[in-house]
Every structure is written in C-alpha cells, then in structure tokens.
C-alpha cells in the first residue's frame, strides 16, 4: 500500500498581494492523486484566493504551479479547465432554463454540422450521471430540480470534462445529512478513480470524515499539513484561530420561564402538517431535520412570511394572525433568514440603514428620521456585536459574511422581539464571528427572550439547545431534551426511524 504518491498538483511559494492587503504569503500546497485534501482556515485566511489562482482567475505575484509534474505559466480559466482542473462553487454554475443534458455539455456541445447533436448530448449526460449513480432524467429542465439534485448536475458537468483535479468549495452548505452522504460517496468514487480532490469547508467534522490530509491556512500563510488521522477538530481550530473548540459554543444554564411561543397543529399543504411546538423564555429550542423536511417553511410560517392553512400560533398566550412579516414583527417575532444574500441584507445600503430597517418607523419621530438619533442607536449596537470594522456608513456588501450576519441578527435585536427565530445563523460564517454570534444569542436568551434555532450542524444544536424538535418530511417526529440528545439520536429521528 506504500506506492509512491503521484503528485497531481503542486503549488509552491505562492504569494499574492492586493492593494493594501497581502492575501497569500509563501503558501505551499501539494495534492496527491487519489486523495481528498481538505483546506481549512478562517475567512481571510487565503483559501479562496489560492483557489482563484488555481482556477486561473488571478496570477500569483510569486510562486509556481505544477500540474502532473508540468509547470504551468500564466493561464486563463478556460485553459485551467482544459488542463484538467474542475471547480465546484457554492453558487451553482448552472442555467435554470436549459435541460440537465444541455447544462452538462454547456459551452462545448457536440455538433452535427451546424446543429446540436442531441443524441450525443443526451448520451454524454446519461453516461456521466450514471457514473455518479444519480437518478436524474437528462431531459428535465434544470430549474425544476431540487438544490441537491442541481448540485449533482454541477458535479456531473465538471466530471464530464474528465478532470484530474476537482475543487469543492463549501459543497455541503445547502445540503442536509442524506444529501451529504450522497456527495461523500461521489467524492469517494472520485478518489478511488485517481482524481485529486480538494475540499474546502468550515465543517471540521466533515473534514475528519472525508479528508485524507488537511492543510490549515491562517492570515495568508501555510500553517500545517497533516494526515487527518493524526488530528482532531480541536487541534484544527486551535491552528486556525488560536482558540479552543469548546469556547465556541458557550454552554448556558438558564431557567426557562413562561411560554413565549406556542404553535398548535399548523399545516401548510405540501410543506408541513400538524406541527406543534413551543418555546419558553430563556430557552433555546432547536429545530432539526434533513434538508427539505420543512424547517425553513415552518420558521417562515411562524414569522408570517408564508401563510398557514390550518392551526394556530400563540405569542405569550394570545393567538396571533401573522399574515405578513410586518404582522410578525408587531407580534414580537423576528426571523433571521437562511439566505443571507438573497433575503438578509440590502447590499447597497449602509450598515446603519440595514440595522434600522425593521424599526425605522419607531426611530423616526413623527415623520422624520433624525440622523443623530439613528446613529446613536446604531453605534451602541455595532460595539456590542463587534462588527468589524465598525464603520456604520459603509455599504453592507463591503463586509464579510460573518459581519453581515451580525448586522442581520442585530437589526432584529433592535426590534426587541419576544421570540427570535434563527435559520442557519452561522452558515458560511468564520469561526471567530460564529463564537460572537452564539454569545449574542446567549445574551438574548439570558435577557428573557425565547430562541428557535434551525441548524444543520448537529454539534452546534446539541451544544446550544435546551430542547430539540425534529422534523421529518414535514411532520414533527420527536422532541428531545438536552440531557438525552445525541447526534445519532437526532439523526435517527430526522431520517424517520422514530424510536418505538
């Protein structure tokens, strides 16, 4: 088993600077054929810059890239693809209005004279989908597929070019447990067929599971490369950040108070049925389930963004009819949505304007917004949330994901809700901001609020929640107290194997 490792990719002495910031400094990366090489690091560590260089979007200031032993000079993205580099990004690179088969062959459709050779296009799609064991009809319009199915098509598209190196950038952030399994089996198959897989992720548990070796980057520098077998998540975090893992999730011991939210038998056709749950003061309640189990839909329905067909929602004992987000806010509910970019931030508006948006009428006196008052309100919040850099006039799209999430969270804190619903509050957020966000959530609970938290990261749920409700295919199948909660237990319920 100790055959000489074939080096598929070697990047040496890579340095890259942008005006004002040194993104990469003397970074090394060596990836073997047939291995899954994970890259971890905080935001700003340089992972994405390194990958952009590999993909041909940037040229390094210094350093060399060798693919299969051959030196590579300046190259364009197209040349990178031709040379066997496949990139799978978080944002899917697919065309919703074309079919699966057309998407897979996009940009290089087999022709017959002037026309598209549809027989060949369909065959090509069938072949590569078959290799991935993906049960998808190539003639389907891509936009009609689910997110995880679309991701499989994306992988198929990359695989159809027969790459020797494939890079996955945060591939599981939109996937639930079951789809992640499918993805991992695909990656495993890639590994066994000799492809060099680079796997970038914030989810250290996944790295432990799927990775063979891991490289840690910090502040643009290469810190360490180790076999995964000889490393723990704790160790990785310490290398990435200089902090221990258990500092990330503050364990709170609060006495729950009165019931803040009581949801009785709510249903929405095609999404969820007969869901009953409750949240008390000073309590953090988790909502677990696979992707597609209806968690986000339940959250949106409670807040009022989507309607319910049946059932009732009570806030502090009073039945409320939340027909839109405004009603939800007046009822004392707040929702931090799952899709930060699409539903969370107004990118062009400043931090200040984003912060005050839900309560702007309250801040205005009579009709007018007085700038000084607004700024004062915002500044104290910015300090408390540790938004970095604390420039409230800067447009929000100039900030990192973690900071943006803090603003989204903060704007609802301003609204002083009784119930805070969080949908994947730390997704795509770096470790430092993650800890900050959990601290804020904890404070909110301590001050008497109730929290309903959706997360696909089970360790997070288990560490933070007092109780966990589990949804399976739109039905509430379990309620687990913290003392009894285990990852396997939650997963079992989430996949429908409810204990007798």
């Amino acid at each position: 088993m100790t055959e000489a490792h074939h080096i598929a990719l070697r990047m040496t002495h890579i340095s890259k600077s942008f005006p004002g910031v040194k993104a990469l400094q003397d970074v090394e990366l060596e990836v073997r054929a047939g291995e899954v090489h994970a890259i971890v690091g905080e935001n700003g560590a340089g992972k994405s810059t390194l990958m952009k260089i590999l993909a041909g979007f940037y040229q390094p200031d210094e350093g060399e890239i060798e693919v299969d032993g051959e030196r590579v000079g300046h190259w364009t993205p197209r040349e990178a693809i031709d040379r066997g580099i496949g990139m799978i990004y978080q944002e899917l690179n697919l065309v919703p209005d074309l079919t699966v088969a057309e998407n897979i062959s996009l940009g290089g459709m087999p022709r017959r004279g002037l026309f598209v050779d549809y027989a060949a296009v369909t065959q090509r799609a069938k072949d590569v989908l078959g290799e991935l064991h993906a049960d998808i009809d190539p003639a389907t319009r891509l936009g009609n597929l689910s997110i995880s199915q679309q991701q499989l098509v994306e992988i198929a598209k990359v695989m159809a070019d027969k790459p020797s190196i494939v890079v996955f950038d945060e591939p599981t952030s939109s996937l639930g447990e079951r789809e992640t399994r499918v993805l991992f089996s695909v990656i495993d198959r890639m590994r066994r067929s000799g492809i060099a897989v680079i796997y970038i992720s914030h989810r250290l548990q996944e790295v432990m599971e799927i990775g063979d070796r891991v490289t840690v980057l910090r502040d643009g520098r290469h810190i360490e490369t180790r076999d995964v077998a000889g490393v723990t998540p704790d160790h990785m975090v310490r290398l990435m950040v200089g902090r221990d893992l258990n500092e990330m999730f503050p364990k709170l011991d609060l006495e729950p108070g009165e019931r803040v939210l009581a949801v009785r038998g709510i249903s929405r056709e095609g999404q969820f049925a007969d869901v009953t749950l409750d949240v008390r003061e000073r309590e953090i309640v988790g909502l677990a389930g696979l992707v597609g189990s209806g968690r986000t839909e339940v959250a949106r329905a409670i807040f009022g963004l989507d309607p319910i067909d049946a059932g009732e929602i009570q806030l502090r004992g009073e039945v409320v009819s939340v027909r839109n987000a405004r009603k939800g806010r007046s009822a004392g509910i707040a929702l931090v949505p799952e899709d930060r970019k699409g539903q969370g931030i107004i990118p062009g508006l400043s931090v200040r304007e984003n912060f005050t948006l839900p309560v702007i009428q309250r801040i205005a006196q009579g009709m007018f917004i007085f700038a000084r008052r607004e700024r004062a309100v915002v500044r104290s919040l910015v300090d408390r949330l540790k938004v970095n850099p604390p420039q409230i006039e800067r447009p929000l799209n100039a900030f990192s994901g973690g900071n943006q999430q803090k603003v989204v969270l903060g704007k609802w804190l301003l609204a002083k809700p009784d119930l805070l619903i969080l949908d994947e509050p730390t997704r795509g957020v770096d470790v430092g901001a993650k800890a900050d966000i959990h601290e804020i959530i904890g404070e909110f609970a301590r001050d008497g609020g109730g929290v309903l938290m959706i997360s696909s990261e089970l360790p997070e749920l288990l560490a933070v929640c007092d109780r966990i409700f589990v949804l399976h295919e739109g039905i509430l199948v379990d309620e687990i107290a913290r003392a009894d909660a285990t990852e396997e237990g939650v997963m079992r319920s989430a996949t429908g194997q409810v204990a007798a």
Binding site: N43, G44, K47, S48, K52, E91, E102, L106, G108, D169
Partner: protein, 340 residues
Amino acid sequence: MRRLDLRATGRTAVRYRLLVLLVIVAIFGSITIVDFFSVDTLQSVLNRATVVGFLALGLTPVLIAGQIDLSIGSILSMAGITTIALQPVIGNVPAALAGLGVGVLIGAVNAAIVVVFKISSLVATLATLLIFASLALLLTDSQPVSSTDPIFGIPLTGDLLAVFTPRSALFVAAAILMFVWLRFTPSGRNLYAVGSNAAAAKSAGIRSNAYIVATFLISGLFAGAAGVLQSLSTATGSPVAGAVMLIPAITAVVIGGTRLEGGRGSSLATLGGVVALGALTMMFEFNGVPAYTQAIYTGVLLIVLITLDRLVSGDGRPTSRTLRRARVESPTPRGIQEEA
C-alpha cells in the same frame, strides 16, 4: 377543490393563450365581418403585420439574452429615410441594402454602449432611441421624404402563393430560420444560457459579450429590414414612422409569451403573437374602430394577459434575476465566496 380546477384551466388557457386569442379573434371577426375567414384576410393580416413583425422578431433574441432594445422604432425610421433618400443616388437595390446597413450600424452603436461602456441596455437603448429619433428629424428637417421611384416597392405587397406577399414571406421565413437557430444550434442554446445565468455561461467558456453584441446587431438588422420594407411599400421615408411601433412590437412579443427577464423565448411564439395582434388590428379596422380606441383595447389586452400570466403562475415571487439584466462580463471572478 374548486379552486384547483380554476387554476388548472386558467393555467392551460394561459399556456395556450395564443390559440385562445386567435380563436376569440376568429369568432368575433366572423360575426362582425363577412368573409373574415378567407385566404385574402390571412394574406392581408400577414402582410400588414410584417413591419411590426420584424421589429418583434429582432427583439426576441435580445430579450432571451436578458437585454432590451427600446431603440428599434428609431432604427426603423432611420433605415426608412436612408433607403428612400439614397434611391436616386445609388439605385434601388443598393439603397435598400444601405437601409439594412444603417440598421446594423445603429445596432452596433447599441452594442458598443452596452458592452464597452457597460451601461445597462435599458438606459443605453433609451438614449439611442432619443438620439436617432432626433437625428432622423434633423436629417429630414421633420418632413417625410418621397421616393423618386415609387414603383419599385409595389411588388413587395403583391401575391405570392396566395397566402403570402413577398414581404410577409420574408418575415415568416426569417421567423422559421430564427427558430431553427435558437432551438437547434449550439450558439442558440448558448444564448439562453447568457440570459438565464450569465455567470454560468461565462464559466462554461461562453463569451457572453460576443453574444450580446450579436443580439443587438440582429435587432438592428431586423429593425432596419422593417424600415426598408415599410418605406419601400409606402414609397415614403418618414422620420417618425417607427416611434409608434415600439408598443405594438413589445405587445406582440408579450402575447407570444417571451418573458422580459431573459432565458426564455421563442421566435415562433413571437410570430404567433404578431399574427394574433395583426388579426386583432384588422378586425378593429374592418369594424371602423378608430385608432385611439384600438389603443385602449390593445392596452387592456396587454394588461389582462400579463395579469393572468402572473396570477396563474404563482404569486409572482421574483427570482433574483427578475429585476436585473444579464450582466456584461467583467474580469472579476464570482463563485468562490468573497471573503474580506
């Protein structure tokens, strides 16, 4: 339960809206007019619809690519006056070609503003609409130009295979060719990619900019063709001929079902929309309905169609591309999460 049925029938009605509309027009037409269902009528409808038809046809790939071209009316006017004005100078056929050339030229100007200056097509073609409408007025001193050879254009509206005229045959042929291009060639399929997800198109190596340039050139060419045909048939080059045609052209495209958001569309659908609109107009005219009342009916039709479409296809929750046009490429890569 009942709600579901309504929805289903509504949805079918909207999908086949073209057919529904044609049937309605046919019924009304045959009731109010003798001999409505005749080959003559069809020939007339097709013939009259040709000019707007070419505009709508040229607009279709532009919309598919996620852009818009509001200047087609001005292009029509410019091409028309060019053709007529040059007839005595370089001869009939070369003058017609020059008219086409002017269309392509203005299309190129549009393309340059959108791709080189990176200005959105809405603003860009709004500006060129103004610029070339003014230029047309300037060049003709706000007077229509009369042709020195009015006989040349007459055969365009003559008989061809009973149901066509030479110019309507050109139109239908163009629609079919465009359909083949869009549906069966790689470049046609790529066009949908450009309008549906410009970033994905770029990652696949498709040069979106080239495609966007091409659609503006096509739009210019077809608008030029419309202008040439119209001016030859009327033996007049009018500097304002095109101004009133923008709305009917867009109406025809919308009736046909092409969306303004990009990524979807079909030239055959546009053809159908043009014919439907033409039939409607013809029916109005036979019944002596004045132009402004026609405008009311057409406007209401447009609104009703689009409302039905919206109601039936859900609450119109927009995708993130609804309000943006396909972006002209820039060298910054997207995809890997931007981390500060």
